[in-house]
C-alpha cells in the first residue's frame, strides 16, 4: 500500500471533503496506537479474555472424508464472542474511538454480525451506539436486531434504495458527514476510504497469524490451501494477509453468486463486476453501463454487497488470490453438510466458502492441507434457512 492508501490502482479516498480531516485524524491515531505497547496490550487482552481468542483450529475429520480426503481444518471464528470474526475489528476500532475521545459510535450492518459486535463493544465501554441496517436485512436477520436493541444500541431502519447493506452504508456515511466531530464510524469490512481497508485488515490479521502458528504446531508445515468467503472481504483478508508472502500457499476467496452469475442476480463484485468507485474507494463493483450501482443479490445478508475491499481487487489482478463464487443453492448444500458431518451450524456466509470445496474437491489432490475460515455461526440464519431445509414438512 502506498501513502495515499492505494493497493496498485485500487483504494484511495473518494469522499466528501467534510470527511477528509476525520480520515486524517483516524489514520494518525491508528498508526500511533499500533505502535503503542499499552494500546496493543489492551487490544490483545480483550481479544483473549473478552472474545475468547485464540479460536481453535479444528481438524474436521468426518467432513474431510466427504471431500476426497483433503485434510481440512476449520478456523473457528464462529467461537468468538458474538459469534463471528467481526468482533476482532470492532474491539480495535472501539479502543481507537476512545483514544480519539469520540463518544458516539455508528456502524452499518448487513447480516447484523458487525452491528451486533459493535453494539456489544459499545455497551462494554459505555458509548452511545447507532446501527444503520436495511429494512430488508432487519427482516432477514431479526434475531440480531433484537440482540442489538437488547444491548442498548439504536437500530435505524434504512428504507432507501435496495434496503440492504449498500444503503445502510450510504446512511452511515451521511451520519458521519453530519456528526463527524463527535462520532467514530466503525466500518465492518476492508472497504471504504483509506485508512479503513488497511486498518480493518490489521485488526483482522489475528485470524491468519493464529492460523499460521496453530498449523505449524499441528502439522509442522504451512497449509497448501486457504479458503474464505468474500463479502466486503474482512475475514478472508484477515486469514490471507499473513500468508501473502508464503508463495506455496494457495488462496481462494469465494463470493456469493446468488441465483448464478449468468442470471445477473448475484453479489460477486470481483468475478462478475468491473472497476468503479463506491463508498470511498476504487475497487471492483457491480454497476450498469451508466455507472449506476446494481443491487447485489444473495441469500446471505453478509455477502449481499455490490463492492469488495480494494486490496482484494489488487490480489485479483495480480493473481495472488484466486476468486470464485458459490450460488445460494450450493451454500445451502454446504451448510447442511457441515451440520451433518461435524455438528457445526455455520453462518450462511461461511457456508459459501465450504461450497467451493464441496464443488471442487474432486479436482484437489487428496492429502492437500487446507484451512477454511469458518467466519461465523449460523444462529442468525435459522429463520432464513428453515424454509429451505424442511420445505416438505413445514
Amino acid at each position: 500500500m502506498d501513502l495515499k492508501g492505494y493497493f496498485g490502482r485500487f483504494g484511495g479516498r473518494f469522499v466528501p471533503e467534510t470527511l477528509i480531516p476525520a480520515l486524517e485524524e483516524l489514520e494518525e491515531a491508528f498508526y500511533e496506537a499500533i505502535n503503542d505497547e499499552a494500546f496493543m496490550a489492551q487490544y490483545r487482552y480483550l481479544l483473549k479474555d473478552y472474545s475468547g481468542r485464540p479460536t481453535s483450529l479444528y481438524f474436521a475429520d468426518r467432513l474431510s472424508k466427504h471431500l476426497s480426503d483433503i485434510k481440512l481444518y476449520l478456523k473457528r471464528e464462529d467461537l468468538n464472542h458474538t459469534g463471528a470474526h467481526k468482533i476482532n475489528n470492532v474491539l480495535g476500532q472501539i479502543l481507537l474511538a476512545l483514544r480519539m475521545n469520540k463518544k458516539r459510535i455508528i456502524a452499518e450492518t448487513g447480516a447484523g454480525q458487525h452491528g451486533l459486535a459493535t453494539a456489544t463493544a459499545a455497551a462494554k465501554f459505555g458509548l452511545e451506539c447507532h446501527i444503520y441496517m436495511g429494512l430488508e436485512d432487519m427482516h432477514r436477520q431479526a434475531l440480531n436486531v433484537y440482540k442489538m436493541r437488547t444491548l442498548g444500541a439504536e437500530v435505524i431502519p434504512v428504507t432507501s434504495g435496495t434496503m440492504t447493506l449498500k444503503d445502510a452504508t450510504n446512511e452511515a456515511i451521511r451520519d458521519w458527514v453530519t456528526n463527524v466531530s463527535t462520532t467514530h464510524y466503525v466500518i465492518g469490512s476492508v472497504v471504504g476510504p483509506h485508512p479503513y481497508p488497511m486498518m480493518v485488515r490489521e485488526f483482522q490479521r489475528v485470524i491468519g497469524d493464529e492460523t499460521k502458528e496453530q498449523i505449524l504446531q499441528k502439522e509442522g508445515r504451512l497449509p497448501d490451501l486457504l479458503v474464505a468467503c468474500v463479502g466486503g472481504g474482512s475475514n478472508s483478508m484477515g486469514m490471507f494477509y499473513p500468508f501473502v508472502n508464503d508463495k506455496d500457499v494457495k488462496m481462494v476467496g469465494v463470493e456469493a453468486a446468488g441465483y448464478g452469475i449468468e442470471t445477473g442476480q448475484h453479489a460477486a463484485a470481483l468475478t462478475g463486476g468491473s472497476v468503479g468507485v463506491l463508498h470511498g474507494s476504487r475497487s471492483y463493483i457491480l454497476q450498469d453501463e451508466n455507472g449506476q450501482i446494481v443491487p447485489a443479490v444473495s441469500i446471505s445478508a453478509g455477502l449481499d454487497y455490490p463492492g469488495v475491499g480494494p486490496e482484494h481487487s489488487f490480489y485479483h489482478e495480480t493473481g495472488r488470490v484466486h476468486y470464485t463464487h458459490a450460488t445460494d443453492d450450493e451454500a445451502i448444500e454446504a451448510f447442511k453438510l457441515l451440520c451433518e458431518t461435524e455438528g457445526i451450524i455455520p453462518a450462511l456466509e461461511s457456508a459459501h466458502a465450504l461450497a467451493f470445496l464441496v464443488r471442487e474437491h474432486k479436482n484437489i489432490e487428496p492429502g492437500t492441507l487446507a484451512v477454511l475460515c469458518l467466519s461465523g455461526r449460523g444462529d442468525k440464519d435459522m429463520e432464513a434457512i428453515k424454509g429451505k431445509l424442511f420445505e416438505e414438512e413445514m
Binding site: I20, T178, N179, V277
Partner: protein, 265 residues
C-alpha cells in the same frame, strides 16, 4: 454563454441547483431556460447517481426519479446541446462513478462541446482527483472544489492553487438539504476561507429561504439553493410542466430579490 468569472462580475449571484431528469429532461430544459431569463448567476445541473452519499432525502429522491426515467450523462449532454441560446453558465454536479464509466476524457470533451463551464464532484476531493481535474483545467472546464467548515488551513491553500471559476463553501458539516445550515460562525468561516482564496466564494447546503439569503449575503459572492428548489419541483410534479416551471420561477424571483435588495442597516 458567459464565463464563470463574468457571472460574478454582476455582483452577488444566485446559483440554483436542479436535478436533471426530474421529472423528465424536457422539464429540466424548460426550467433552465426560465432560470436564464430570470437572471440567475450560474445554473448547477445535477447528474443522478444511485448512491448519492453527500445528499439528503430530497435530492436522493429526485435522483431516483431521474434514473427511473432513464436519465444518464449522454441524455443530459443531448439536452444541453439544445440550449445554445442560454447565456447563464452551467456547472455539472455529479458523483465520480458515472463519470468514470462514461470515460473521463470523453466526459470533459463532451461537456465542453455542449457549452458546460465547470464540474463539481462531491466524492472526488481535489487531491484524489488530481489527474482528472488537471485535464479539466487544461482543457478549460473549471474544476469546482468544495471546502467545508473543518477544512484545514494547509489544505485551503493547496485548493486555492488549483481553484478555477469559484469555490464551493459547504455551509455546515452535513449533507444537502440539512435545515441547520449555515453554521453559526459563518462570518469567521467565510473570512478564514477568503484569507486563503482569491476566486469568488459560493455558499451552499441548507439555504432554503429569502431570510437565510439575507443573513449570509454580506459574506459571500454567490449562494447555492438546491433542495428547496428540487422540493418544489417534486411537489408540483403532478401538476404538469407549466405549473412546475411557474412555481420555480416565483420562488427563484423571491430569492433573487432577497439577494439584490440593499442590506438592512
Amino acid at each position: 454563454m458567459r464565463t464563470l468569472s463574468e457571472a460574478f462580475d454582476a455582483g452577488k449571484i444566485l446559483i440554483p441547483y436542479i436535478a436533471a431528469g426530474d421529472p423528465d429532461l424536457d422539464t429540466t430544459a424548460e426550467i433552465i431556460g426560465e432560470l436564464d431569463k430570470l437572471g440567475v448567476g450560474i445554473i448547477e445541473v445535477g447528474m443522478p447517481f444511485s448512491d448519492p452519499l453527500a445528499d439528503g432525502p430530497i435530492i436522493q429522491a429526485a435522483s431516483q426519479r431521474a434514473l427511473a426515467g432513464g436519465t444518464n450523462i449522454s441524455r443530459i449532454f443531448e439536452m444541453l446541446e439544445e440550449l445554445r441560446d442560454v447565456k447563464t453558465p452551467i456547472v455539472l454536479m455529479g458523483y465520480f462513478n458515472p463519470i468514470m464509466k462514461y470515460g473521463e476524457k470523453s466526459f470533459i470533451e463532451d461537456a465542453l462541446s455542449c457549452g458546460v463551464s465547470g464540474v463539481l464532484i462531491p466524492d472526488l476531493p481535489f487531491d484524489e482527483g488530481k489527474e482528472f481535474y488537471d485535464i479539466c483545467s487544461e482543457k478549460g472546464l473549471c474544476p469546482i472544489y468544495m471546502v467545508t467548515p473543518n477544512t484545514k488551513e494547509e489544505r485551503l491553500s493547496q485548493i486555492e492553487r488549483k481553484a478555477r471559476g469559484f469555490l464551493y463553501c459547504v455551509s455546515l458539516l452535513g449533507i444537502t438539504g440539512d435545515k441547520r445550515g449555515p453554521i453559526e460562525g459563518i462570518k469567521s468561516y467565510m473570512e478564514r476561507v477568503r484569507s486563503h482564496v482569491s476566486v469568488p466564494l459560493a455558499l451552499g447546503f441548507g439555504i432554503d429561504s429569502p431570510d437565510k439569503i439575507r443573513a449570509v449575503k454580506p459574506y459571500v459572492d454567490g449562494i447555492v439553493i438546491g433542495s428547496a428548489i428540487v422540493n418544489i419541483i417534486s411537489e408540483k410534479a403532478d401538476m404538469g410542466r407549466k405549473a412546475i416551471v411557474n412555481e420555480v420561477s416565483v420562488f427563484t424571483s423571491a430569492l433573487i430579490d432577497a439577494l439584490r435588495t440593499a442590506l438592512q442597516p
